[in-house]
Symmetry: C2
Subunit: 451 residues, 2 copies
């Protein structure tokens, strides 16, 4: 019988897994099912489309359904929501949303790539016409259309994570007065205190009203179903646009219909071959947990980079191959106006909780030779373990030369290098690109006095 | 008796070694002897001073002799040329150039940091008033002064290495018509063919007349001792300025007076503690050879980064400590007009000669997300070994995001990562900084099909 590989979810991991499966076994039928209208896009790009840095909406999509079918030989059905897995019969129950009809599709192998879902406030008004998540491409299109047509003047962003930062810049650069309400003291909760302080300073110096310790209580609506005021513990804020950026969590509703095992962070747990706990069912992407190879713990790290690699593994194995995904380190960056911020590895808090003897060091170096035009300061907040002398994580921030230096540290962390090892790295020194003592080396030389 | 540590050579390694020695043993007398007028400067910065990118000459010097004495407790004597080591009596014979008198200085420990010397043409006219090497700070000051006062219009650069590239840009940006004569087919002999082609294209598109296969035969001088024409095998070139950039070689004349062992590349060979073959004599910096940890061979890699680390080791050990320098990988970059070029590890030619089964791959990736404004192409020419599957070296070139990506590869090479390992790296993906598939990953994914 012809192999029939079903992939559920078409945003990031899904199309990759489907394409890989078809490439590995061209004789298999590969069907991709997506509940939304679009497939194969990068959620990370949406804030730049909303902020008009990217003007052509077609740039957001890598493959249309037609293009994926032609280029990769994968059959695609959009507006098809998979509602149930019947594992005993190896089939899925699918709702065709366009026709509101229920279909059944059998599978030989199933790949779950249902991604993440945006956290909600859980209060009335969240579905008003001027309240937007920034999660799907549909969200992005709708928000940009609203901004173009309604020309909002005052926005409230609720939630100070990565998307909140990017949306603040997108709104301010479009001359929208912006207030950012955050539950905690400082935004970007996974980062170190010094980094977070720098982020607050950057937000405020660019005109964002950052309000800490603010929990939203009520959304006041007008007759036309628009939120006109956000009432929070910190006060009331008039607005004509609300952005919700409360973070994401693994979307596992479908997986739960098959009683697939979830982990402590709510995501699907897989083995190194991306097998779930249920036979013939694989999972990949933001619906999964990830083995963090720094502390060897399962964590929730929803990143497209990890999703893509898991997707290749799931796709290859579903098609009969044998590939492995052995875990990842966290590597993430965000641009907050002129400030570049990156994190690799684990945070000092995570390191503490993992039983490491945590040492931290905050150094400031130069991105280029000090007197070379355009030089900027590079900050590194490094986290090391006093016992093993290993570097466990780092925040890097500054206006230039940040992200790729974080990658240098990421490779060091992945190789379990000690601080001493890092101080012996051969890094480039050329006036326009890097100083004699690269910030990475300055960090290692300082830190090795402490570990 | 009080320890007396003598350091010979004051440019890069010398001041670092002297400062380190004094810090490790504050009771020692540390004396730094330098034949030139200046100490503690970066040769790499000189082309930028000549090109007027850096305007303040004081920026070129990290420490004046006075500042080094005050800040580090190191006694400094400039215009003192050490002419002989009398190892049996642990003393050096020194010529005080200002007074043309000979002095003797005893030592408990001696550190040789005599650096490199510029290769010469070895023909008449090389010492004419308008012929310049770009090797010492004195050279840089003299060249810049000549340019300011004489306003040369046509220059000939002889030699297409790193300094030749930087000088071409420095001259062209000061509106000087520039011809670059090079003995070989293409400039930058250590790089891969595709990289070198890109360099030639960049030179030519910026108006440099690049002349390959050109050996200089004669320098025609005017009555005022100026070279007015360079006669080469490729033709005759009128000029009013000549730059010699023929490369450097280890400066070991002094070491040879003590019969210190040299290696196959003409540099001083040391052990991991920077001991030379002679008791109580250490060496550090560009006068030394370096164990290349990629192929485990001694090579000549004159780089300030390596010199600095060797200097710390030599200084610490001369002062009674115990530090090691275990070798290096080559990591070097140059800016050629808008093109950034970097090399890490060994070349395909070196890999061949070292017995590796060489596989190469040239990929083109994006520095940022493709449609993000300011994205530029990043080229990687990677060199791997088919037996061990290790990455051995890489050239990276393009207009942006080059140098630090080469550092990422350098860290991978230092950790002896295989191509497969590199394909599993967690690198950042954020539209303004890096695409989903970083060029490093594109390279690894392509290359792993071949190894």
């Amino acid at each position: 019988m012809r192999q029939r590989i079903l992939v559920v979810g078409g945003v990031a991991a899904g199309p990759s897994a489907a394409s890989k499966a078809k490439r590995v076994n061209p004789n298999a039928d590969v069907l991709l099912l997506e509940q939304g209208e679009h497939i194969s896009y990068g959620i990370c790009e949406i804030p730049y489309y909303v902020g008009k840095v990217v003007t052509d909406p077609n740039h957001l999509v890598s493959y249309t359904p037609q293009k994926l079918e032609q280029a990769k030989g994968v059959e695609v059905k959009t507006l098809h929501r998979v509602e149930e897995i019947v594992k005993s019969k190896k089939k899925v129950i699918v709702r065709n949303l366009a026709r509101n009809k229920v279909e059944e599709h059998p599978y030989s192998k199933l790949i779950i790539a249902t991604g993440s879902k945006a956290r909600k406030l859980g209060i009335q008004g969240e579905d008003a016409v001027n309240v937007f998540h920034v999660k799907t491409l549909e969200d992005g299109y709708a928000l940009r259309k609203y901004m173009d047509e309604q020309q909002p003047k005052r926005a409230v962003i609720i939630g100070g994570g990565y998307i909140g930062m990017e949306m603040a810049e997108a709104l301010i650069s479009n001359n929208i007065t912006t207030t950012l309400l955050h539950r905690g003291d400082m935004p970007m909760s996974g980062l170190e205190e010094d980094t977070r302080k720098a982020v607050v300073a950057e937000l405020e110096s660019n005109g964002v009203q950052f309000v800490p310790r603010s929990a939203v209580k009520q959304l006041i609506r007008s007759a036309s179903d628009r939120v006109t005021q956000v009432v929070a513990t910190s006060g009331a804020y008039d607005c004509d646009l609300v952005i919700l950026s409360l973070g994401v969590e693994p979307n596992t509703e479908l997986a739960q219909t098959a009683r697939i095992q979830l982990g402590g962070n709510g995501g699907i747990v897989t083995d190194q071959r991306q097998n779930t706990s249920v036979d013939a069912i694989y999972a990949a992407g933001d619906c999964c947990e990830v083995k963090n190879i720094v502390n060897n713990k399962w964590m929730y790290i929803p990143l497209a980079t990890i999703a893509s690699r898991q997707a290749w593994v799931a796709g290859e194995n579903a098609a009969g191959g044998s590939a492995t995904f052995k875990g990842a380190i966290r590597a993430i960056a965000v641009k907050v106006f002129r400030l570049e911020v990156a994190q690799v590895g684990i945070s000092s808090e995570e390191a503490d909780a993992s039983g490491f003897r945590v040492i931290t060091e905050h150094i400031v170096g130069n991105s280029k030779v000090g007197f070379y035009p355009g030089n900027a300061k590079v900050h590194i907040v490094a986290i090391a373990d006093k016992r093993s002398k290993r570097l466990l994580g780092a925040n890097v921030f500054g206006e230039q030369g940040v992200a790729l230096r974080a990658d240098v540290l990421g490779v060091a962390i992945k190789n379990k290098m000690t601080v001493e090892d890092i101080s012996r790295l051969d890094l480039l020194y050329t006036p326009p690109f890097a100083p004699l003592w690269d910030p990475v080396l300055v960090m290692a030389n300082q830190l090795k006095k402490k570990v």
